[in-house]
Structure formats: C-alpha cells, structure tokens
C-alpha cells in the first residue's frame, strides 16, 4: 500500500527549476533511497515534503491526506519527521530534553500545571522521561541523557537526531545524508541502526545518501535525481547499474 504519493511535483526559484515533475511512490514499510549528484535537488525534495517550501505544482499525499500548503508543524503532526544534512540539535539542551521536544505533542499539560507544578506536571514529566529513556536506549544514548547535546561526538549527534525524529511518532522518517562525515565503521553501524529502527518501529524510511555502499546495502528502491529531474527509478540493483546513472555520477 502506498504511504507517500508524490505526483508531478515541481518548484522554481525565480528562473531556476530546482525540482521538475517528480513522481515517487513509497510503500508502507519500505526503505527508499533518494540519490543524485550534488545540487540535484534532493534536499529541496525534503523541504517540499516537510512544508519548508511550497511546491509550484504537484501533489503530495501521505496516507491519502493532502500535504501541499500545510505548515511544517502540521506536516509533522500528519506523520513526517526528518533529520537534517547539517545536524540541527538543540545544542544547549540535554540529550534527554532533545528527545522530549520530539515528545512535545504527545505528552501534554497546560501552562498553569507547569508553572504551579500541579500533580499533573510530575505525572506527565515522569512518563515523558520514561518514554525518552526507552528511545535513548534504542540508540545506546541512555548513559548520555544528562549531557549537553553539543558535547556528544559526531556519530552520536546523528543518532540523537534520529531519536528525536522518532519521538514525534512519524509514519514516514526522512533522513538527510545520515552517513555524511562518518568513517566506514560508523557507516556500517549506522546501517544496522537504520535497519533496526525500521524493524522495531515498523518505520517507512526515505533517505538521501551519497554513500553507495549504504544505499545498495539497505534501500530496496531508489530514485536518482539529476538537475531536478528523475534520471532513473526502480529496484536499487537495476538503477545503480544503469549507464545513465553511472554517467551522471562519474562523467563520461
């Protein structure tokens, strides 16, 4: 069953056609790759999906629900969470609090309960702590819960970003170059983490990646973008052997 449907999606910045007539269908539970050379428009697609940009034309639906024209916050509530190419953590907050921001819309109490520390405050905060701790354990970050996010090593910051995204209980998780800046060992570990997340949370994942080993290792289907248009689309093995794709990456 299709979870995310993108039809004829396009956006122009002035005269620049950043994304042009993109069609993409991601099924429930799939691990889907979005690849392409630098400047191909991959992150722009993420920004379109999450409502940062409004598409000039086209349709985006998640679970049959229209997403075009919705704000980032509404799209998150509808079920899309993301990470960023250049990590965006809440650096001066604790690791725990970073995850608790992800839980913000799922554990609620009103302003006065918080200010006056009414009984509801302790109760909700406690269950928030427990839930956040569960998530941190999944990513082996539970021992760092009290540390500042800024003090985590790079690889753990990436993991924390994923944990925060998962805390919002998305249907679809967007990962923007999760392996960027990682060494082969860290990439290997990340691959395992992503597969683990997929199985444990029954998550549908769309990822942008440059590391071909990671893409061919875990993605079932990929879309290759080049200059904003779809160059190739389909099963990972077939697409990566497509001569046009090889040419786009390596040149003639």
């Amino acid at each position: 069953m299709a979870l995310l449907e993108v039809r004829n999606l396009g956006i122009s910045f002035g005269g620049l056609r950043a994304v042009d007539s993109l069609d993409m269908t991601i099924d429930q539970g799939q691990l889907y790759g979005l690849i392409g050379p630098n400047g191909a428009g991959k992150t722009t697609v993420f920004n379109l999906l999450t409502g940062v940009y409004r598409p000039t034309e086209g349709i985006i639906t998640l679970d049959g629900q229209n997403l075009v024209g919705k704000k980032t916050v509404e799209i998150n509530k509808a079920g899309i969470a993301r990470t960023f190419q250049n990590i965006r953590l809440f650096k001066n907050m604790s690791v725990m609090d970073n995850v608790k921001i992800g839980l913000h819309n799922h554990f609620k109490y009103n302003l006065f309960t918080g200010i006056l520390r009414l009984p509801g405050y302790r109760k909700v905060e406690k269950s928030m702590d427990e839930r956040a701790m569960e998530l941190l354990k999944v990513f082996d970050l539970d021992k760092e819960a009290g540390n500042m996010a800024a003090n985590l090593p790079y690889g753990k910051q990436r993991k924390l970003e994923i944990a925060r995204a998962l805390a919002t209980e998305p249907k679809l998780l967007l990962l923007d170059e999760p392996a960027a800046g990682m060494n082969p060992n860290e990439t290997e570990e990340l691959m395992k983490t992503i597969q683990f997340v997929r199985e444990k949370f029954k998550m549908t994942i769309l990822l942008i990646e440059h590391d071909m080993k990671l893409v061919s290792g875990i993605c079932e289907e990929v879309t290759v973008l080049n200059f904003g248009t779809v160059l190739a689309q389909g099963k990972t093995g077939d697409v990566l052997n497509d001569p046009r794709v090889v040419k786009a990456y390596l040149g003639e």
Partner: protein, 320 residues
C-alpha cells in the same frame, strides 16, 4: 532519605529565600543599615523582577529586546492609575492595581509579539527600541498620565516597610519563571532559541511559544512597574527610557544569559553598587565599569568553565 534527596534542591532554595528575608527584616528592624540603603531595598526587588522576566526573552527565547522598560512603564502607569482612582481600601486597590498593571503590560506584549514573529536579531532589537520610545512619547503627551511633569500622589504602599509583600511578589516572579523554563512550554521556548528550524520540524509551534514568552515576560515587567510606582510615588516618562532597558539587559547578560540565579545576583549587585559607591562619588562610574568588566571576564573565564564542568559532572553522577 530518598525523599530528602529528591527535595534537596527545593529545600536549599527555600532556605536561601528565608535567610535573605530574615536578614533584610532584621536589618530594617534594628537599623543596621543607613537610610540610603533602606531606600534601595525595593528597587533591588523590582530590578530582580525585571531582570528575571527579561531573562525569559533574552536568555531562554534567545531574542534581543531593548524595550523592556516600556513594559514596566505600561504596568506602572496603569497600576498606579487604578490604585489611585479605585474607591477601595488601600490594600485591595493595590492588589487590583498589580493585576491590572500586569495584564495591560501583557497586552502590550501581545502587540509587540506581532513583529516578533516576523523579525529576528538586530531587526527585532530596533523595533523594540522604537516601541519603548513610542510608549515614552505617549505617556509624555497623555493628559491622564500627567504628561512630562509626571503622575504624582501615588500611595506609598510598597516602601521598605512593606518588604514582606514586595519580597513575596519577587519570589513569585522568580519561582514562576524558573518553573516555566523547566516545563514542557519552557522546553519548547529553549528549543526555539537553539534551532527554530529543527523545533518546527519536531512539531513545535514556534509563533505560539514566542508570543507566550513575550507575554509572560511583559506581565511580570508590568507587575514590577506597579511595585516601582508605589515605591517612588511619582512617575515620569523619563524614568523608563532606553537607559533603563539597557541596565536591565546588562544584568541579564552579566548574569550569564539563561541563568536565573545569575540574573538575580547581577541585578542585586548592579542596583546596589552605584548607591554603595556614593562615598567615593568621583570614582563611582569608574568602579562601576570595572565591576562590569570583571563580571564579563568571569563569565568567559576558564575558572567558570571548570566550575560549570564540575557541577555538570556532579549532576550526572547523581542521576546515574
């Protein structure tokens, strides 16, 4: 034992508050300090309220505003007018004045909240600066506020003789703001400071929490204004100019941006300092500026870093 540990921090804070209260009360009762210093007790409290409320915007929301004195003046004038004109017994009218002052200032916070949603950084600073000047001009021309000659005859109800009331109000402001920043809403405010794009992507309504921070901050600045008005009994628009806003901002910045305790300490020191230095009037500004520089150096020193690291380590080991 476990219960004691759990509430240890709370007990220490209550202890500190009680000690301060008792010391000040004793000082007032037995005349340990001169009249000049006595008259500074309430201004110290109002500045603590101002600094702590501004800390919410500058330290936790991460926006720079240069018009905090405007919220104070809105609160001061509206609160004073209410308590002067209400046909109620003194205390009741002061209570109504405090609420009205806070609410009117909060409304001003909503008004300033609209540009806040569209502007950031320097631009917001300029707008709030302009807002402060506009408010000042309005009070200068309005008939009901007495214009440039000021509003006089405000009942003296928050002088140092009523320290208990002022102290309780100050405590309320401090407790509410520190509880707020540790709540769900406060976390959202801090997340916006650290990275508003990520906050939005994580489902935080950025505009809602920005306005919330401004409104709460303005409310308490308004309350501080009412206390101020009933302490000096005459209000002039000039009391709430750009310099006042900057003074409060300096307290927050030197207090370590986002540290409530730091803001309180800085507010107390920087309010008392000019008075304490009256004896050496010639060197007053010199000493004042040296203290500012020393506090600034301390904030960026390795020494403070070490202290903070040790505290953090202690906290982590306690949790584990």
């Amino acid at each position: 034992m476990i219960a004691v540990k759990k509430y240890q921090k709370l007990l220490i804070n209550i202890g500190i508050a009680v000690v301060i209260y008792v010391l000040v009360m004793l000082a007032i009762q037995f005349g340990w300090v001169g009249r000049q210093l006595l008259s500074m007790i309430v201004p110290v409290c109002t500045n603590v309220m101002m600094a702590v409320s501004l800390c919410l915007i500058v330290g936790f929301l991460g926006e720079l505003t240069l018009g905090h004195a405007a919220f104070m003046s809105v609160g001061a004038y509206s609160g004073a007018l209410v308590s002067m004109n209400l046909p109620l017994p003194g205390w009741l009218s002061l209570a109504v004045g405090l609420v009205v002052g806070g609410v009117v200032a909060a409304l001003a916070g909503v008004i300033i909240g609209v540009p806040v949603l569209r502007l950031r950084g320097d631009y917001l600073a300029i707008v709030t600066l302009g807002f402060g000047e506009i408010i000042k001009s309005v009070f200068n021309t309005l008939g009901i506020t007495g214009g440039a000659s000021g509003l006089s005859g405000i009942p003296l109800m928050t002088s140092y003789r009523n320290f208990t009331l002022v102290f309780i109000l100050t405590l309320i402001v401090v407790v509410v703001v520190s509880n707020l920043v540790k709540s769900r809403q406060g976390r959202a405010i801090c997340a916006i400071r650290d990275n508003y794009i990520a906050a939005e992507a994580a489902g935080i309504k950025v505009s809602k929490y920005k306005v919330m921070a401004f409104v709460i901050s303005a409310f308490f600045a308004g309350v501080a204004g009412v206390v101020y008005a009933h302490n000096i009994s005459i209000l002039k628009p000039g009391n709430f100019d750009y310099n006042t806003s900057i003074e409060i901002l300096v307290m927050v910045v030197l207090g370590g941006m986002g540290s409530i305790r730091g803001s309180i300490i800085a507010a107390v020191i920087l309010t008392l300092l000019p008075e304490l230095l009256r004896g050496v009037a010639d060197y007053r500004m010199l000493v004042y500026s040296i203290v500012l520089i020393v506090m600034m150096l301390f904030n960026n020193s390795k020494f403070k870093e070490k202290l903070m690291a040790r505290r953090q380590a202690a906290k982590v080991s306690k949790e584990a």
